[in-house]
Amino acid sequence: MKRHVQLYLMFLSKHLKTLMVYRADFVIGIVCLLLSFALARFSIWAIFQRTQNIDGWIKSEIIFAYGYNLMVSGVAWLFFNQAWGLRDAVTSGGFIKYKIRPLNPLFHFFAESFDIRSIATIALGVLTLHAAAGSTGFHWTLPRTGELVLLTLMSAALFAGMIVLASAMAFWFTISNPLLGFLASIHGVAYFPLGIYGRMMGTLLSTLLPIAFVSFYPCSILMGKTPSVVPLYAMLGIIVVLWMVAVRLWLKGVQRYELPAT
């Protein structure tokens, strides 16, 4: 464990040096991130110009869930953004270096990149959530803040498990990137209440595609909309199963990986 932490820090410092070369990309990336945030907030504002609530959730509650959603995606992409590069590494043959080195290839691959822009996403999420919290059932006491941090980490673990599982497809098909795009886009609307999607879609989003556990259920708990802790246990179970499947599939993919013919 200690060795892996040391290695991770070493990879991180190497990656930060690389980022210094592309300073303009980083700065413009952050500006564009702020622009996308402003446009997303604008769309929530425009929807609430026409309605008072969505399935019983008022504007500040939706904004709270949006802020939470940003924090979760920020934490998950911070460590697993490299998933977008797996398909190219596999098809170009560049992945072979991860197979021959004396390191767990999954750890090695994801440790090599650290999406520093996601820190801005997390900061925007915290600010948004903080601004909206006053009009919701959430209070900034120590136990509730601890609950918020714990739930955010659990949601991020769940979302990251989905990212790793989707990226593993790169070893079999070329659809891993569209699959990641699909995950990012459904995660982008995960802050709306589950009740609007009807029974069939709601069940799908709570089971096979458990995106409801990334934002809806934890936010319902945080805002005191549900007294039940069942979603919390279900979330824990899903995280364990998802990661077991994702890691197994990923390592199986590594095993069958061969250099593409040139």
């Binding site: 500006v31 446009l39 659809i175 009740g195």
Partner: protein, 251 residues
């Protein structure tokens, strides 16, 4: 040919678009149910507007910005320059190939599902013809905005960020996220003057509006044509300027 190699991507884009169509359906149904200012009859039009806009953006997404920036940064652009077909024309030809496959695998199945979700008789034959006529304009505008994005990305060396910003700007200003007619009137007036409205607002309005006057139709199509011409001229000029200044390192 490249797109056929990546046909699974195309098919997955269709599945992904269908999910987005269903999300739009449920979200706008919830908004209309809870609203006291919106009439429930308007839900079908709003759903058709948002869902078809999503399908148009996916079908006409040719990743031209990535192709252009990659080919210039890697130096592959030199192969296109020495060919008898101009760089601008070759990019358009490649984009038409990509769009053709997406049209078959994404547009047709998704539009079938959307039309099945809409009430019978909502769309008239005249609307279908007008919609079809405006599709090429929609494709040309989006393609040239993508090309301009690619050129900006090269100048700023920020392909990821610029592309992300373009996607958000296009989805908001074209009406794909929130229909332009649901925005405050001062804001929608400005948006209706920009080129983005020609991507989704024009074709979808021509498809869903049965009471539109001939004058209004001509205005919408004329505006779309105007932006097609302006963007084609701007991109053509910008590409020519860039190519005369380009420096490629040997390797």
């Amino acid at each position: 040919m490249t797109m056929i190699t990546y046909r699974w991507e195309c098919m997955f884009a269709a599945v992904s678009s269908l999910f987005t169509v269903f999300f739009a359906y449920y979200l706008w149904r919830a908004v209309y149910r809870a609203s006291t200012t919106l009439s429930t009859q308007g839900f079908e039009v709003t759903f058709a507007y948002v869902a078809i806009s999503v399908v148009l953006l996916v079908t006409f997404n040719t990743s031209a910005e990535t192709n252009i920036s990659r080919s210039i940064i890697s130096g592959d652009v030199i192969r296109d320059i020495v060919r008898p077909l101009g760089f601008h024309d070759s990019q358009i030809a490649a984009a038409i190939g990509t769009m053709g496959l997406r049209f078959l695998l994404v547009f047709i199945p998704c539009m079938t599902v959307i039309l099945l979700l809409l009430p019978h008789g909502m769309i008239g034959a005249r609307n279908v013809w007008l919609f079809a006529a405006s599709l090429s304009g929609s494709f040309i505008i989006l393609l040239h905005i993508d090309m301009l994005t690619g050129l900006v990305a090269i100048k700023t060396e920020a392909v990821w960020g610029v592309r992300l910003a373009k996607e958000y700007i296009v989805s908001v200003f074209s009406g794909a996220l929130i229909p332009l007619y649901l925005l405050p009137s001062s804001l929608s007036k400005v948006m209706l003057l920009l080129p983005f409205q020609g991507i989704c607002h024009t074709p979808v309005t021509l498809l869903t509006s049965r009471s539109m006057s001939g004058m209004e139709m001509c205005r919408l199509l004329g505006m779309q044509l105007f932006w097609c011409v302006v963007l084609m001229l701007v991109v053509n000029r910008a590409l020519k300027r860039l190519i005369t200044k380009i420096e490629i390192n040997g390797g």
